[in-house]
């Protein structure tokens, strides 16, 4: 099992204001950011990423826009800094929201450049992005996934083509001379990752052999992993744990109380992430027809998508850390506790090769964050690294576009 540390580089000083207004995203005016405070926070967060390299963890960066929950507005920009500050860690961009980007060739250039800069340590997420990312980008939510797949195919072809330029006149994107410089060290492309919440995404990722990641709910993750494994089997290959990733808040302490306290602060991210003004939560076309029918049929006041292991819906905006333990949103406690929780989770999921370690969620201060990272790396990581050694590796390499 690999472990990738990440944080969203939150601007938590504005969370109270966002909660009061009912949205931390899209419509919370940027006057609520003090750029001087943001300067301190960004540099602090980057120090925390650098620490991960020292203690042997890999690093993940994501991006969001127009929000107090996440100041990383460009995964490649953040990774460019981190690439220079690290030596060993693999660097995961998870990722570029390619259905919201007007220029996929630019994405291919950024990723290739990063791979060259960091000496081939890059892993490349091409993601759909959350529904509330539609408004800041003003991308059309209708036919979003058709645009996603065209951008995906174009990016992979751009990165893996060495005898260009080539012509691309598609439904959404038009270029007559695609020929990116430099090209990536990892050929044909760095490993490609996707994200999702549904079995359908699992199947589509399996058709490409990409790594698929999800977050915060074991109940949601399992059907997606299972769909992936089944689809791979249908296509004649075996998907190993190295194709699956799971993001979870982790708080480790020298005592159980300390671990729970840290996890509770990190889970502040989960409690705020979904606080978004209504119209931006479900732009037409973003969610499937079936999901939208179910929402209208259920009427107003429907429950959230996360359920605990007994099947009860959990309100993520208010849940306690104990409730979050029940939904696999959080792993927390002493190193022994956390090793046990991860081992149990891995068993229930059928083997997850990548743990995305959400280790900073706003109000956890620098000392706690650094201690959490160090303690995890020293006491937990060595005991979970070999968890899936008994399982067969994937029998197919990640593929480039046809």
């Amino acid at each position: 099992m690999r472990v990738w540390y990440f944080s969203e580089m939150a601007y938590h000083p504005a969370w109270d204001e966002g909660l009061k207004r009912g949205s931390l995203r899209v419509v919370l005016p940027s006057g609520n950011v003090d750029p001087g405070v943001a300067h301190g926070l960004l540099n602090r967060y980057l120090d925390e990423f650098a620490l991960c390299d020292e203690v042997g963890l890999d690093i993940m960066i994501n991006e969001h826009h127009s929000t107090a929950t996440c100041m990383t507005i460009s995964a490649p920009m953040a990774l460019a800094v981190i690439a220079r500050e690290t030596k060993k860690a693999r660097l995961l961009s998870l990722g570029s929201p390619i259905a919201n980007r007007p220029d996929p060739v630019r994405v291919a250039e950024e990723m290739a450049w990063l791979d060259v800069l960091c000496g081939g340590r890059l892993e490349m997420g091409l993601v759909k992005g959350a529904p509330y990312e539609i408004a800041p980008a003003n991308s059309n939510p209708a036919r979003l996934m058709r645009r996603y797949w065209e951008a995906h195919d174009l990016i992979i072809k751009a990165m893996s083509t060495t005898d260009g330029p080539f012509n691309w006149e598609g439904e959404f994107f038009h270029y007559r001379n695609v020929n990116i410089w430099p090209r990536p060290i990892q050929q044909p492309t760095p490993p490609v990752w996707m994200t999702g919440l549904s079995p359908e995404t699992g199947r589509l990722a399996a058709e490409r052999g990409h790594v698929v990641g999800t977050l915060l709910s074991g109940g949601v993750a399992k059907p997606m992993y299972d769909a992936y494994r089944q689809r791979a089997q249908e296509l004649g290959w075996t998907a190993g744990p190295d194709r699956f990733a799971y993001a979870v808040c982790i708080g480790v302490g020298n005592t159980r109380a300390e671990g729970l306290r840290r996890a509770d602060l990190i889970a502040g991210y989960v409690r705020t992430a979904g606080v978004v003004a209504e119209p931006f939560t479900n732009p037409p076309g973003y969610n499937s027809l079936g999901a939208n029918i179910a929402m209208l049929k259920a009427g107003p006041g429907r429950g959230g998508f996360v359920k605990d292991r007994a099947g009860n819906p959990v309100d993520q905006t208010k849940a306690t850390v104990e409730q979050f333990l029940e939904t696999d949103t959080v792993f927390a406690g002493t190193p022994d506790d956390v090793v046990r929780q991860i081992t149990d989770f891995n068993q229930r999921m059928g083997g997850v090769g990548h743990l995305l370690f959400f280790g900073q969620g706003g109000f956890l201060d620098h000392k706690d964050t650094a201690d959490n990272i160090r303690l995890f790396a020293r006491e937990v990581f060595p005991r979970i690294q070999h968890l899936n050694a008994d399982k067969p590796a994937s029998s197919r390499r990640p593929v480039a576009a046809e």
């Binding site: 408004a135 003003n138 059309n140 939510p141 209708a142 036919r143 003004a277 209504e278 119209p279 931006f280 732009p283 037409p284 076309g285 027809l289 939208n292 029918i293 209208l296 049929k297 259920a298 009427g299």
Partner: protein
């Protein structure tokens, strides 16, 4: 279902007399509501459901209001409509205007009821309310003189019909997301409309405010502007009889 230029369209026909092609709003056709019957007392009403909405099929290649304009011009030819009245509300008004700047041969009257499709204001102005940036309840407050008239209980609706509504919402988004619910070039060509045109506006429309009715009237040669009291953005829905009466007086 009728296949027109390769597109399967669900079409309601009602009444006798002069043909009237009714192009529905972004909210959909809702053919069981009274406006089609009110119009059918005076006209032979032909009311297609736009591709993507309801049971009409949206082809993969179709994504612009231009496509709809050509499709309905083909439909008018296919049904051999002559001396017909072309009526569109909201999104349907945009489609009707795009048709009329291209070809009015089969039509002798045009009625645009609170059409989307043109923007007259500047960079920071929102002539057309951002229906996708407001909560549903807020949109309803802007769209209706009395939002209760537009209330729909989806929990009691069959799933096949809900599916039509959901698909319609996505299609509305597809055609109108960017530029938002208008074609920046359309206003430059409205002078081409060469048939008598009535611009109708609900007095309490705040999706596109009644003041924009005058902009449309001024852009179309010889057009007249009338308003309908106690109605918002969907005057045919809130005041079906007054709506039908206005059209009958103009084109009956």
């Amino acid at each position: 279902m009728l296949s027109v230029s390769g597109v399967d369209l669900d079409i309601v026909e009602r009444g006798q007399g002069r043909p009237l092609l009714f192009l529905h709003a972004g909210e959909g056709l809702w053919p069981q509501r009274p406006w089609l019957d009110a119009l059918a007392q005076r006209f032979r009403v032909v009311a297609p459901t736009h591709p993507g909405w309801g049971r009409s099929v949206l082809p993969d290649w179709m994504s612009s209001v231009d496509d709809l304009a050509y499709l309905y011009l083909d439909l008018a030819k296919r049904l051999d409509l002559n001396d017909a009245v072309l009526v569109g509300n909201c999104f349907g008004g945009w489609v009707a205007a795009e048709m009329a700047v291209r070809d009015t041969r089969r039509f002798s009257r045009l009625v645009l009821a609170a059409p989307l499709g043109a923007k007259f204001g500047g960079l920071h102005d929102r002539d057309i309310a951002d229906m996708h940036g407001l909560a549903r309840a807020e949109v309803d407050k802007l769209a209706w003189a009395d939002p209760a008239r537009g209330a729909v209980d989806y929990t009691k609706m069959p799933e096949t019909e809900i599916a039509g509504v959901v698909r319609g919402r996505e299609a509305f988004t597809l055609f109108g997301w960017k530029p938002y619910m208008h074609n920046p070039r359309l206003k430059r060509w409205l002078h081409r409309i060469d048939i008598p045109t009535l611009v109708l506006w609900g007095e309490r429309d705040r999706i596109v405010k009644p003041e924009f009715g005058a902009k449309w009237r001024d852009a179309i040669p010889g057009a007249t502007l009338e308003s309908i009291a106690d109605a918002g953005h969907f005057p045919h829905w809130e005041q079906p009889q007054a709506f039908a009466d206005k059209i009958a007086a103009f084109a009956g």
